[in-house]
Symmetry: C2
Subunit: 398 residues, 2 copies
Amino acid sequence: MIQWNSFYAARAQGDYQNLVSTLADSIVQMAGGFPDERVFPGAEALEAMQSLYEQAGPALMQYAGPIGYEPLRQWVAERAGGSTALSADHVLLTHGAQQGIDLIARMLLDPGDTVIVEAPTFHGALWVFQSHGARILSVPLEQDGMDVSCLKQMLADLARTNQLPKFIYTIPTFHNPTGYTTSLERRVAMLEICSTFGVPIVEDLPYSDIWYDAPPLPSYLELSDHSVSVIQLGTFSKTLCPAFRVGWMIGDESFIAKTIHFKHISDTCSSLLMQRTAHELCSNGFLERNVSKARNLYRQKRDALMEALARHPIEGASCSRPGGGFFAWLTLPAGMSATVLKKHALEAGVAVAASPMFYEEEGRDHACRITFSCPQAAEIETGVGRLATAMNRLIQQI
Amino acid sequence: MIQWNSFYAARAQGDYQNLVSTLADSIVQMAGGFPDERVFPGAEALEAMQSLYEQAGPALMQYAGPIGYEPLRQWVAERAGGSTALSADHVLLTHGAQQGIDLIARMLLDPGDTVIVEAPTFHGALWVFQSHGARILSVPLEQDGMDVSCLKQMLADLARTNQLPKFIYTIPTFHNPTGYTTSLERRVAMLEICSTFGVPIVEDLPYSDIWYDAPPLPSYLELSDHSVSVIQLGTFSKTLCPAFRVGWMIGDESFIAKTIHFKHISDTCSSLLMQRTAHELCSNGFLERNVSKARNLYRQKRDALMEALARHPIEGASCSRPGGGFFAWLTLPAGMSATVLKKHALEAGVAVAASPMFYEEEGRDHACRITFSCPQAAEIETGVGRLATAMNRLIQQI
């Protein structure tokens, strides 16, 4: 029998953790970014499939083209809006937004190429860029967006050595893991900087429909006005359900046309049945109703989290108040390790995500991502109570 | 606006053709490897989903773990058989068999690594290995399998320079594009050679259930007996339908455990709804009935192709007689270009695939892949008639 270790590619040498573990029912799940199943289009999805099957017959279950179902691409193009008139040719349907990140990396990253990310950022993006051997540089993320003076200085330094990044990856709206939203002022500043240095922006927008206090700010795609190339990623996983596995990528036509090849070699195509079902739910009015329902449901959960945190104050800790999305960012009291807290919290009956996984650099062990999308309001209260107990015990030991 | 050309990674510099084009209804489709829609589980799939939804509720539409639905992995393990007792831990569910090829490449290939393939081979595999910067070496494929003495010599040469391949990629049963099947004798010889040199085998088996004359020979996984590491790929795209996008990879537990990370970064997970629906159709007896139906249907088409070719003989051409699968390999008269024939055939009203796309090396323009899975028997007769007309015209010009 072959010892596989000697066969693995460089990218597979790491010792990867399987993050997806099943939690006991007694544990409050505030780690994984699961949507609430009450927003899923159960009966409506099955009805849509039945109706599509009556119209289209078994052709519904055939291979699709790798670019995806044209009417849904058209729908995505129309909804994205912006200064440029978008058409279906600007849209490729992906197998969820994660595949969009992967396809962009395949299109743009050679080993050693530079990518700029926010610190912290989505671990699923970090892992893709790492697997491509990219040089990942981090710009501190503040409550109102990337530290733009730091970004400007970094780009100026990189330009001098001809190492400008292939792109900047950002989650400007209801950021994962922090819940922060980049202000309009910072968006404009970012575009100006990217225009100056000729750097594209990859804008990941899985959560922008799920807003609580005010509709989301204009996206980079809407603001860019031809001066900066923007690739935008989106998904139905939060507004319909993850099991459709339907996301999208919006970009220049030439970029999208070339990406088809990489979608093709990744998995031939996505499911026509799932794409058409998603399209049916977009066309028949279900999606808009469901997004309203989701906003109300998740807003209550965000409020429940804020109230629970107020009822269980921890000296030296502070938490973001997200205006949308699934996540809040709890900065721990000085000296407290998130990795240690995560273990104690799990023993106390609540799962949270520790900050190191959201950073490229080592040692950023000072915060936790709290997911409020999955547990019900009463469970959020229970979970925060347990987390506070674990933190108060740890404070004694600092 | 950014000129994207200066941003593309090396792997994206090529000028890729979009193979998936819509043909006019008047064209007989013998190019793309589409299954016949009459074997798709239309109503049965919708019933299975309805029944699953009644049992499981909206949880059916939640994120799944990247490794896939455990009972279906167990089913795949049991069905694969072989000398080793396989369990669910040996199986990862993929988004079709193409994703399996891509995941294996991510796991094993650094740029410059050697891979050995059959000549000709499946273009979807070639494209993946090319995109990883692999050094692709081809061993001639004969009617009864790879030229084993050529393979042995190649491995001996590679061993001397310490460049043994990371794996040999083979489609031993009802090969794509030729329809050939590797004989038992050659399988045993291949295993002996791979054992001697310590080279793993990647065995792609999308068609083995679709046999016409006799059940398929034992797979490499069944024959390997621990002396050679075998990774086997399979799919429900031919036995149920492509739109489920459910395939699998079977391998050593340590290999599968590490592959989870690369599945995760590729697309988070596949659809739990589709995996459970496929499992339901495997468990309730539909799959076995459907595979019998598919064998009969496609056997009639294979026979129709053979009869049509006999009715339209072309001097100097010869065609394989596949024992299963979707494809036959038409070797053209000496001096005839497949690329030229493909164009003339399309004008005459039949689409076929020209041989160059199935070879790593340039200039192999001597044959066509004829797909008989998609057209009905009468269309096969029409298509072959048109192809013969185009060939007879070209013969005048040689």
